[in-house]
Symmetry: C2
Subunit: 344 residues, 2 copies
C-alpha cells in the first residue's frame, strides 16, 4: 500500500494530491501505483493546452480564463480547474517557483482552482510522459478542466500542447510583421488563436495577418498537413481527420483579448466550450484520448529500451567506442550501429 | 561509391554540398558514407548557436553578423560562413522556403556565404542528430563558421543551441517586464546576451533586467546548475566547469544591438571572437566538441534501439496492449513494462 492514499486524492485532499504530483515529477515508484489506482476514473477532464512565446501574456490569460469559468456553470456545474505550468527549463533556475508564488496571490482563496508548475526531473519518459501522468492524476482527482500552459514554440511544447483536447495559441500585436511568425508554424496546431494585448496598436493587423496565414495554410500552395509523411503519429494529423463530410468541421477562430482587463475572455471561453462540443459530436474527443495514451506508451517504451540496454553494457565498452568517435576515427552513426549489433 | 562525391564537397562544389545536406535531411543511406568521408576533416569550424523568440529579429541579426565577419580577417583570413536555420516546425508549413528566399536576396552574390534551412524529415535521431550531421558536412566542406539559428525557447532549441561552441541568446525591449522571461531560463545557456531592437524604448531597461537576472542566477538563493542532478549529460554543465581557478572564467556580456542598421554588430562580433579564444585557452573547446559527439551518439543509439525492437514485435502484439491502455484497463507505464519484458 502506497504512503499516498489514492482515495484521499479522489476525495479532494490537496496535500495528498501535491505529494502524488511530486512523486510523478521525481519518477518515484509509488507514482505508478497511484496512477494505476486513479486510471479507471480518468477520461472526464477537458485538457486545454495553451502555448505562446515568452512575454505573450499567457499566464495572465490563463488566470482570467480560470476565473471566468469559475463564475460560470458551463459544464453543468462550476468546474474544478487545475492549472499546470510546464516548465521545460526549470532545471536551470528557480523561475517556476517564483512564478507560482505570484500567480497564487492572484487566484488564492478559490478552493476550486489548483495551480502547479511541472518539471521533469529525470523521470522515465521525460517531459511528455510527466505531463501525461500529471493529467492522469488530476483527471482522477476529479478536476473538470486541466489547463496545461507551455512556454515557447519548440518541438516539446508543440507536442505537449497537441496532446490536449483543445489547443490555444497566443500571439501578440507586432508578430504579423515578422517572417519568423510564419516560420514558427505553431499556428497550425491551434484550435483557437488569440491575439493578446489587443489594447496595443497593431492588434487588428495581427488578427488579419493570422487570418491570411490560416487561409494560406488551407490551400493556395501551402501544404497543410504534410507531417503525416514524416512523423509516425503527429497529433496535428488529428485536427480534422473527419471521414464523414456531413459532420461539422472546425475553423480555428481568432479572438482579440486584453488579458490584463479581461476584455474578450468571455468570448474565448465560449470558443473553448464550442470546441469541446465539436470534439464530442464528431468523435474526435475519443480519437484524441486514444492518441494521447498511445503517444505516452511510445515514449515510455523508448525510454525503457535505452535504460535496459545500458544495463547490459559491460564496463568500458561504451567508453571505447565513444573514444573512437571523439577522436574522429568513426562517425557517431557507425559507432551506434556497431554497439547495438554487439549488445542486443 | 556514393553518387555524391565527398571530394567535390571538399573542393567547394555547392551543388554537391546541397545534395549531401538533402540526403542528411531525408535520412538517405548515402548520407552516412558522405559523413564518414568528411568526418576526419571536421573539428575546425566555430559553431555559433543563435536562439530567441519569434519576432526577436534573429534572422536580421545573423545576416548582419555574417556580413560583418565577411568584411574582416578575424580568423586570419576572410571566413567562409554557413548559416543553418533550424526549423523544427517546418513539416507543418512552407515557411522555411519562403524565409530562405527572402534572406538569399539580402546576402546573395557573396560566394563565401552559404544559407540553408533544415528540417528533420523522419531521419534517424531526429532534429538533434540532423543538426549535428549538418555541422559535420559543413565543417568538412571547409566552412570556418557555422551559424545555427533556432526559433523559440523550447527544449529542442535549447539543446541544439547548447551543442554550439558559442550560444547567443537574443531578447528584445519589453521582455524585462515579464515574469515569463525569467521562467524561460534560456538566458542561462547564453554565452553572449543580445538586446536587439535597441532603438526602441526600454532597451536599456531590458539590458539592466538581464544583468540582474544573471546576477541572481549566480547566487542569491537561485540554484544555478542543479541540472546535473537530473539530466545525464546537460550541456549547460559545461559552461564553466573550469577545474583550475587560475584560468579565466567567462562572464556572459550583454550587448545592445540594432540589427536593422547594424549598430552594435561590431561589438557583438568581437565578443564572439573573444569567446572562441576563451574556449581554446581553457580547453573547453575540446570538451564541448567531445560532448557534442557523445550526445549525438546517445540520440542515435536510442533511436536505433526503438526501430530494432519494433521489428521484433509480432503482428497484433502491440495492438492488444494498446487496446488495454486506451480502454483504461492498464496504465501506459504498466503496458510498456510488460511489452518490453515479453519482447526483449
Amino acid at each position: 500500500m502506497p504512503s499516498i492514499n489514492p482515495q484521499a486524492i479522489r476525495e479532494g485532499d490537496r496535500l495528498a494530491l501535491s505529494k502524488a504530483l511530486t512523486a510523478v515529477e521525481n519518477g518515484l515508484p509509488e507514482s505508478q501505483e497511484i496512477q494505476a489506482a486513479l486510471f479507471p476514473f480518468t477520461g472526464q477532464a477537458h485538457l486545454l493546452g495553451i502555448t505562446g512565446s515568452p512575454g505573450s501574456g499567457k499566464s495572465t490569460l490563463v488566470n482570467q480564463l480560470a476565473k471566468f469559468f469559475r463564475c460560470q456553470r458551463t459544464y453543468g456545474k462550476t468546474p474544478k480547474i487545475a492549472i499546470v505550468a510546464v516548465d521545460p527549463t526549470s532545471p536551470f533556475s528557480g523561475g517556476a517557483l517564483l512564478g507560482d508564488r505570484i500567480r497564487m496571490q492572484d487566484l488564492s482563496g478559490d478552493k476550486g482552482i489548483f495551480i502547479r508548475s511541472m518539471a521533469s526531473r529525470g523521470a522515465l519518459g521525460g517531459l511528455a510522459h510527466t505531463t501525461a501522468a500529471f493529467a492522469t492524476v488530476l483527471d482522477g482527482a476529479g478536476f473538470d478542466m486541466i489547463i496545461i500552459e507551455t512556454v515557447g514554440a519548440g518541438q516539446a511544447e508543440v507536442e505537449i500542447a497537441s496532446l490536449a483536447h483543445t489547443t490555444i495559441v497566443v500571439e501578440t500585436p507586432g508578430m504579423g510583421d515578422d517572417i519568423q511568425a510564419i516560420k514558427a508554424g505553431i499556428l497550425e496546431i491551434g484550435d483557437i488563436l488569440v491575439v493578446n494585448k489587443a489594447d496595443q496598436p497593431g492588434a487588428e493587423n495581427a488578427a488579419r495577418a493570422l487570418q491570411v496565414m490560416l487561409e494560406m495554410g488551407r490551400g493556395g500552395g501551402w501544404e497543410r498537413y504534410p507531417a503525416g509523411k514524416h512523423m509516425r503519429s503527429g497529433p496535428h494529423e488529428l485536427k480534422n481527420p473527419n471521414p464523414d463530410p456531413s459532420l461539422p468541421t472546425w475553423q480555428p477562430p481568432i479572438q482579440l483579448v486584453t488579458a490584463t482587463d479581461g476584455t474578450g475572455v468571455e468570448e474565448l471561453a465560449s470558443y473553448v466550450v464550442d470546441h469541446k462540443t465539436f470534439l464530442k459530436e464528431t468523435g474526435l474527443w475519443q480519437i484524441k484520448e486514444s492518441h494521447r495514451l498511445e503517444k505516452d506508451l511510445e515514449v515510455l517504451i523508448q525510454d525503457l529500451l535505452l535504460r535496459e540496454w545500458l544495463d547490459r553494457l559491460e564496463d568500458g565498452q561504451y567508453e571505447v567506442v565513444l573514444k573512437e568517435v571523439v577522436t574522429r576515427k568513426r562517425t557517431p552513426i557507425d559507432a551506434a550501429q556497431s554497439l547495438i549489433r554487439k549488445i542486443n
